[in-house]
Subunit: 334 residues, 2 copies
């Protein structure tokens, strides 16, 4: 047991706000928090194609509160942070491609809203704990692997810049005002309740959908790019540990997967688990090649040392669970 | 001679846009460019207390064009970048204290406007060269000295975060679209035409004013914090080298001073050069102590190796020139 002690027990009765709470990670976190006895409010604006989905909380509708609002609305956020013990800040525009098409919307949602929420917390609820979802995209093209938190941040797309800014407002508000903030830099998260409607939010969800539909998983180039994947239950556990720990205040931690895997290996594994689909190789589309960053995977040594976190779910187990989920519920996702 | 060759000669006949062109560095750069035969347009909105001052271009009014506009206005900027060969992006909110009081204005001016100007360039004038003014404030509290470009960016105030974001949009637009961008991370710049009206834009201008007025220069704590100072003519030379060099595209360079100096030494030097004033020590005000970063000075080795730049003006020579300027023209500055 770490200094955290029984961190799960600390959530009983806690008032918790989750922005992006109807989305992939937000809804998985919400369900877990409700099970732990927390009083959970979800904030989500259900922007089409972003990932928010009322089906994600099916079975939990009566045990939590859903507040439809946009994190870009500072007045709503000021009202919503009042009286909360914790805020998990998961609302975001997460498509790198969309951030290049419409950089201003990405800036508003990922950067400006962070600042606005932090101002709301500072003025309305200075004792709140805020946990932000950053991304390994902030590092850009790796200079060395695995990426650790000492790696320079050299983002290669507008989304990476705005997530970086969003994260660092949190660090500034910790340093300047003592607001208890922390950030997790997520790697490729996968699991039930992920958006699978389109392919603009990363490869993993889309590959799973293709496997479930028995279609061809197309890889760019030779498919030898390595990635790490982290199952959503493990990501939720990381948020719970950081939320419960004052050691984490003012800190940034990478999450990571158990071991890097090539996209080709992943695609074959998915086809094997699904028992259907196939794998094909196609040339790089120019607009994706431009912002591609080669192999990328992260070290989670810092959060392991500080909070005892590690990714526990074997990849084949997590993928099987995800495939089962979408076989059963795909009509709610595409 | 570096690969740059006669970089000054390349500016003859060039169409150059300078945002923040009525400000401290912008106006010094503008005067130099006019002398080199460039066709210069200044963009400035003359926001009170920001540093824009029509007196800064006295004697040059007929040899350049002044366009009053705000960089936050995307329509004006789209029109203004058309037909330009170079853009020096110097408009900015530069007060760290103001960025904490009003973080959204800082975000709009330093981050969002950068993105908006880059979008304007990409669509209206993709061959333009864009040189951005970053700041050593992006590094935050130094982990080692001197700061080089490999130092992590750990900004300690909102201004540092927004300048960081503003800079990295430039890097993204280079990587993704081939837009020829570069950034200089400025240290403490000093010299004629600097804002001396208030003390919220850094210590150096304010100290000079106190010396010129024969007042007491008050230092926080023991005055042993080290800083580096760079004379504005040297900073202008760095912008001219970067603007003329394709080697600099996609690059970030620190500027730096000749040697670090303690604030106490600097204050005594100013009193000595001015022949008046005095030095006093006072306790740290809490709101400044919170965002203070201790000793800080930068290495300029990278730009020296790449473009042959180094700070040439001895501190006592630069300060004497600055003091003479304000003795003569103070009525236009405070």
């Amino acid at each position: 047991m770490t200094e955290l002690g029984d961190y799960l027990a600390t959530y009983a009765g806690k008032r918790v706000l989750i922005t992006g709470g109807l989305g992939f990670i937000g809804s998985n976190l919400a369900r877990r928090l409700v099970d732990l006895g927390a009083r959970v409010t979800l904030v989500d604006s259900l922007i089409p194609d972003y990932g928010g989905n009322l089906f994600n909380i099916v079975g939990y509708e009566e045990r939590l509160r859903v507040n439809i609002a946009d994190v870009r609305d500072p007045y709503s956020m000021r009202a919503l942070v009042r009286g909360q013990d914790l805020l998990f800040s998961l609302a975001g525009q997460v498509s790198h491609l969309d951030s290049m098409q419409d950089p201003f919307t990405d800036l508003e949602i990922n950067a400006r809203s962070s600042l606005s929420i932090l101002e709301a917390c500072r003025h309305e609820n200075p004792d709140i704990k805020v946990v932000y979802a950053g991304t390994r995209q902030q590092y850009g093209k790796p200079r060395y692997l695995p990426l650790d938190e000492e790696h320079l941040q050299l983002p290669t797309d507008v989304n990476g810049v705005n997530k970086l800014a969003g994260e660092w407002y949190h660090m500034v508000y910790y340093n300047a005002y003592g607001l208890r903030t922390a950030s997790l830099r997520l790697t490729n998260t996968y699991g039930p309740r992920q958006l699978l409607k389109h392919n603009r939010q990363g490869f993993i969800g889309w590959f799973v959908r293709l496997a479930v539909e028995g279609r061809e998983i197309q890889l760019y180039g030779d498919g030898q790019q390595k990635r790490d994947l982290c199952f959503v239950d493990d990501v939720v556990d990381a948020f719970l540990r950081v939320g419960a720990s004052d050691t984490a205040n003012g800190e940034v931690y990478n999450l990571g997967g158990q071991a890097p895997i090539t996209l080709l290996e992943l695609a074959h594994l998915l086809v094997e688990i699904a028992g259907q689909g196939r794998v094909g190789l196609i040339p790089w589309p120019e607009e994706r090649k431009r912002i591609d960053i080669g192999d990328v995977y992260s070290s989670y040594a810092r959060i392991q040392a500080a909070l005892g976190w590690q990714p526990l779910t074997p990849l084949d187990v997590g993928l099987a669970q995800m495939i089962d989920y979408y076989r059963q519920y795909h009509q709610h996702y595409w």
